[in-house]
């Protein structure tokens, strides 16, 4: 009883104390990064949002209020409509591709192969390369005249794919000003993107697979599950949160994709490989349409938010429950 009283008095004393070096140093170390983040991230987001509502569409700043006119203009262009189609197609196929290839590699490596560490490094290494370098390499490999097509030709292929120079869109449904479908040129870009990022999916999946106890797999075997049933009914459901994490991180990477496209194809003919980020960059810094560029940036931010906010909510919920 006596000890308890002492302890609570001690606690009250420390609360009452005005100044604590501990707290001061903690706050002091955080201040510089808080200021930098505040100005260069959140400040500029607010600034971009503000610019997108102005008439600053020439070299000379003009902050007169334009309402949503920039957004209306942007959404009305053939280029931006193509961008939206491309980003949706690219993100969906990029994520699916990385998940399938990553899972496949992780399952193979999880078989306790020899030199496991070597294979893991080989598969994850492309991630360390800059997207620009990946873009250049794959633009050489998939160059219709000089790349892998020479090999295909040697094997006797008659109709050689034109890879990222293709302007074909499948299935080609007219909607508004654009053709909706999968631009075949994007598939070439996707090969490069999946090559680069599936190693990441593999690494995360491998960690997830190692987290499933052998007992559970053995219990499933005893219960009569074969390899296929085991994967779909036991392993995959337990990797649900792993999959969510991969999807969130890859979707953020995908929506922001710039360097790969810029180095590999650019906007492409009829904007078949254009992306909002590329459009934003060229509109703003090459076309001096600052307000319109800002509007594209804000749309891109909202697209990202669609993926990030549910993720943040679920992580916060997990944090508070544990």
């Amino acid at each position: 009883m006596k000890g308890w009283t002492h302890a609570s008095q001690g606690a009250r004393m420390s609360v009452r104390r005005r100044f604590s070096w501990d707290q001061f140093s903690a706050v002091a170390t955080l201040i510089p990064s808080l200021i930098l983040l505040g100005v260069f991230v959140y400040g500029f987001i607010v600034w971009t949002g503000y610019v997108s509502l102005t008439n600053w569409n020439s070299f000379i700043p003009n902050f007169s209020f334009a309402g949503l006119q920039n957004y209306i203009n942007v959404f009305g262009t053939f280029r931006f409509q193509s961008d939206l189609r491309n980003i949706v197609v690219f993100t969906a196929l990029f994520i699916i591709g990385c998940l399938i290839v990553g899972m496949g590699l992780a399952l193979l490596i999880d078989q306790r192969v020899r030199a496991e560490g070597l294979f893991r490094s080989i598969f994850i290494f492309p991630m360390a390369i800059s997207f620009v370098v990946t873009g250049v390499i794959w633009s050489w490999i998939l160059n219709p005249g000089t790349g892998v097509n020479l090999v295909l030709k040697a094997f006797g292929w008659k109709t050689l794919p034109s890879w990222f120079l293709s302007t074909t869109i499948v299935p080609n449904i007219t909607l508004g000003q654009i053709q909706v479908g999968i631009p075949l040129a994007l598939l070439a870009v996707l090969i490069a993107a999946v090559w680069q990022m599936s190693g990441f999916a593999m690494a995360v999946y491998l960690a997830g697979l190692r987290g499933i106890s052998d007992d559970i797999k053995e219990a499933a075997r005893i219960d009569g599950a074969g390899a296929v049933r085991m994967f779909w009914s036991i392993i995959l459901p337990q990797l649900k949160s792993t999959t969510t994490t991969i999807v969130i991180i890859l979707s953020a990477a995908s929506l922001k994709v710039f360097g790969l496209i810029y180095a590999m194809t650019g906007p492409g003919q009829e904007f078949v490989t254009d992306m909002p980020s590329l459009n934003m960059f060229q509109t703003t810094f090459q076309g001096d349409q600052f307000a319109q560029g800002a509007a594209i940036a804000i749309v891109l931010l909202l697209l990202l938010a669609v993926f990030i906010i549910p993720y943040l909510i679920s992580t916060l919920r997990q944090d508070s429950s544990s």
Binding site: E218, A219, I222, D223, G224, A225, I234
Partner: protein, 356 residues
Amino acid sequence: MLSVRNLTKQFRDHTAVEDFSAEVAAGEFIALLGPSGSGKTTVLRMVAGLLQPTSGAVYLGDRNVTKTRPKDRQIGVVFQSYALFPHLTAGDNIAFSLKVRRWSKQDTARRVDELLEITQLSHRKDYYPEQMSGGERQRVALARALAFNPPLLLLDEPLSALDAKVRISLREMLKDVQRRLHVTAVMVTHDQEEALSLADRVIVMQSGQIEQIGTPEEVYHSPQTAFVSTFVGVATPIPVTAAGDGSHDVRWGDYAFPWLLTIAQKRELADGGTHIYIRPEAVKLLSAPTARHEPKGEVLFSMFLGNAVRVRVRMSDEIVLTADVMGGKAMYRPGQSVFVQLRDDRVDPKDDPRDR
């Protein structure tokens, strides 16, 4: 029902199980008892088909299943870690093996409800494993293992992850369920109390080999090796010689007393002397010797166990006896002198098959 013949398992340079043979009758409850590393779990995993033996064979009935896949052996397994599927409810966990085996929806639902009732878990059907207590999880694991009516149930330390109270109540449920469903059970455990209380027969193992196979009574009262006598319960070895008066008595120093010996011990006794193992309940403490000249000892310490007082008595530099004074209230003082009387209150000699 289950026949294990000359099973050996080698891991690189070390032999986990060596020449293990045992026969299990239908409906029997067998405990594989041994310390960790004695190979008991390895035997269980080989029977389940999760591990291939280096040599030897496993028969289920007349069928050699040594090379058969686990799912085709029709065996239920309960794991120490429960090994429930975390993304499935209790009901779906139990139903899993039935779905794999393509039971009809109605049959599956009926069987799941039946098992939930047997394991008293009906109110937990839609709970996920993480929402249940350890005891409940292990009951789900038991129900899941029994779902497809396997004739043989294997249990790998099923109770050791639970706290003492739950362990005892679950032990009773396990025995009850096993008897009611007439399923043959083989349980691995390192807990001798669990083995003695649950099993019809106990197989004591050490270093990958069988030390003794017998009923709980036989293993406890007539241990055939020094290891069994000390691993199963508490026992103190004392050296004895023949009493030399033509009776069944043995002699420890000046003290001659009746003691039922095994055939092996009798042979050793004839050769000069042997050891007998004294259990705490066989020792009676006296304050003065009788005409039989009970040996004198010195109390080291005593501790109150609830239903008994356990007293450690030093007889000589080498021999410290443990005595349980049942219902005893009197605590013995350290340093106090006592005289020990040894009583053979084990099985009735007439019931001991080895004496016939």
